[in-house]
């Protein structure tokens, strides 16, 4: 093969030909960095994660230590109980840090579980199409129809209560929405000519899914992940609130709120602390999710 003269169309590109390519991700990152609400959310969430992980190492009180002579005291600088103690005399700051740690862990792990199952399930169903798709998605419909609480109670009865179980139960429910989103996107992508081109080149089905479908799904998936985390955290809180969540002395934000609302009239700080922390956490996550959605939205391009 011999070289052909570069046509005039490329003349203006000659001079800056060495500029490195800017991927769609680079563009999205720039837009995200310019989004003030999303960046504030990211900073706040980052701080919360640091506090949840490393705060307990530096705080003078442990989350399970009972100070029997100081039960249910309000916020005070004495003994550094700046957010008070609960009715058993445990320091609220220590309990909040523990609760946040558990809630964030549940959110992260359950979301990860739903991400892996949902993307694999949806991409395979959408790409395979036909009868495989029908069977896989009808199964999702059936599971969808099952009441969440009923499912969790069932699981709890069979396996007993544990934090691992909460990860599993929430992940096992949340993946279905992800699978539907991913399947819809896959159906749209499958019609794209670059998938046809890959088929014409002889790329095997698995290669097409991994190299062509999944990378193009990541935009909506990333957005959905960040919006799933708050939902998962709320669900865990709900389970803890009705008494199906984590075991004492371990705690979570939902559990703290549940305990706090019982003492609302006598010790309101037991409710306000965890409730405020929950709101801040969820707001940051939602802001990040919204920012990501705006940044990755192809219509903006």
């Amino acid at each position: 093969m011999t070289m052909l003269a570069a046509p005039a169309e490329n003349a203006d590109l000659m001079n800056r030909a060495t500029i490195k390519g800017r991927s769609l991700w680079d563009d999205a990152r720039r837009r995200l960095l310019a989004n003030r609400a999303a960046m504030t959310g990211a900073v706040v969430l980052g701080l919360l994660i640091l506090i949840a992980l490393f705060g307990p190492l530096f705080w003078p009180h442990e989350y399970k230590t009972l100070y029997r002579d100081r039960t249910a005291i309000g916020p005070t600088l004495e003994h550094l109980h700046i957010l008070g103690t609960d009715i058993y005399g445990r320091d609220m700051v220590a309990r909040l840090m523990m609760g946040l740690q558990v809630s964030l862990a549940v959110g992260a792990v359950a979301t990860l579980v739903s991400l892996v199952i949902g993307v694999a399930w949806g991409a395979i169903a959408g790409f395979a199409g036909g009868r495989v798709d029908q069977v896989m998605m009808r199964l999702v419909d059936i599971l969808y129809a099952m009441p969440f609480i009923f499912f969790v109670i069932l699981v709890t009865i069979v396996f007993g209560r544990s934090i691992f179980l909460i990860f599993l139960a929430i992940g096992a429910v949340e993946w279905m929405t992800m699978a539907r989103i991913v399947r819809g996107q896959t159906l749209a992508l499958k019609q794209k000519e670059f998938v046809e081109a890959a088929r014409a080149a002889g790329v095997k089905p698995l290669g097409i899914v991994l190299r062509h479908i999944v990378p193009n799904l990541l935009g909506p998936v990333v957005v959905y992940v960040t919006l799933t985390m708050p939902v998962v955290i709320l669900q865990e809180s709900f389970l803890s609130f009705i008494g199906l969540g984590v075991n004492e002395p371990l705690t979570s934000l939902g559990r703290l709120i549940s305990d706090g609302q019982r003492e609302l009239s006598s010790s309101p700080w037991l409710l306000f602390g965890p409730a405020a922390l929950m709101v801040v956490t969820l707001l940051s996550l939602n802001f990040i999710g919204d920012g990501l959605r705006d940044a990755l939205d192809p219509k903006e391009r």
Partner: protein, 345 residues
């Protein structure tokens, strides 16, 4: 520069009686067939090495389905596809893979045919990788540079993403991808109709230059007759899943035989308002009938200005109409004494 294999006794591609039918089903739980769409319904043609064979027709006439069937991306309902004399109609995905090296496709829309998440270099390298031809890093890099230069792009651009290129440049990338495997046949499905008019001739000239250098054969699918006239050696006109006329380019454009071809040609705009005003009115009225329920006899008769009684009842057979041409039309069957003999054979 690559030389073509010595032409054997068989053409590069031979399509015999190709049919692609799609069942129409109703009901989700227990689907039952309620109809049949005959997207391609008995198409015969051959493509010789190094020639450009064009298929023209309105949208929905089955030209793209024919292309997909040849690439085995759509299963044929009947008929045979012979590539270089070998029947590839029923090969499985594994057995088909070596043949995919020899026929590649350029798609219509360069904005949808390049994966937006892959760098241009990766897009071009993918076919090579799939067929184990990428070699070591240096060899792959050299091959990539060669491909980029071949289509008039700079090798440095391989590090960029498709969205950083114009439509014309993207179509060049798509052409480079099709050429990566050094195919003998490139199927171009409306390769310029999504491009700006100003870019079209550049891409067409690139295709023609590449054909000359690499000895490629093209199956060129288009609805724009001026483009077809520019690039083709032979032209087939499709209507409702069948070829109604097939001839060498000059013969088809100077002396079209089938009323449908005549009508298509009369619809081509003439870049001269006075001449445009003087010419006969287009003879095709209305839309093509549904391929799900085609009219009896000659499928073109409801729109044909010359329709006779026989057209409404009998399907015309393909008859020779000139030195190179053939057409399926009762007008010419009556004029051609050889038709009866040919039909008998």
């Amino acid at each position: 520069m690559r030389t073509n294999a010595a032409p054997g006794s068989h053409p590069l591609l031979s399509v015999e009686g190709l049919k692609v039918h799609f069942p129409v089903t109703e009901g989700v739980v227990l689907p039952r067939q309620v109809g049949l769409i005959k997207a391609v319904d008995g198409v015969d043609f051959t493509i010789r090495r190094g020639e450009t064979f064009s298929i023209v027709g309105e949208s929905g006439c089955g030209k793209s389905t024919t292309a997909l069937a040849i690439l085995r991306m759509q299963d044929a309902s009947a008929g045979r596809i012979l590539f270089d004399g070998v029947d590839i109609t029923a090969l499985g995905p594994g057995a088909m893979r070596p043949w995919r090296r020899r026929m590649q496709m350029v798609f219509q829309d360069p904005f949808s045919s390049l994966n937006p998440r892959m760098k241009v270099g990766d897009i071009l390298a993918e076919p090579l990788r799939v067929h184990g031809l990428a070699g070591d890093r240096d060899a792959a890099r050299a091959k990539l540079d060669e491909l980029m230069r071949l289509v008039g792009l700079l090798p440095d651009m391989a590090e960029r993403y498709p969205h950083e290129f114009s439509g014309g440049q993207r179509q060049r990338i798509a052409i480079a991808r099709a050429l990566a495997l050094e195919p003998d046949l490139v199927i171009c499905d409306e390769p310029v109709s999504a491009l700006d008019v100003s870019i079209r001739s550049q891409i067409l000239n690139l295709l023609m230059e590449l054909q000359e250098r690499l000895g490629l054969a093209y199956l060129f699918i288009a609805h724009d007759l001026s483009v077809v006239r520019h690039i083709s050696d032979r032209v087939a006109v499709m209507y409702l899943g069948r070829i109604v006329e097939i001839a060498e380019r000059d013969e088809l454009f100077s002396a079209p035989k089938h009323p449908y071809t005549q009508a298509l040609l009369s619809a081509v705009p003439i870049p001269d308002p006075e001449a445009e005003a003087l010419r006969e009115e287009a003879m095709v009225r209305g839309d093509p009938p549904s391929p799900r329920n085609p009219p009896p006899g000659c499928t073109f008769h409801p729109r044909c200005a010359h329709a006779m009684d026989v057209c409404r009842t009998d399907e015309p057979v393909m008859v020779a109409t000139g030195t190179t041409g053939r057409a399926t039309c009762h007008l010419h069957a009556a004029n051609d004494p050889a038709a009866a003999r040919r039909a008998a054979v």
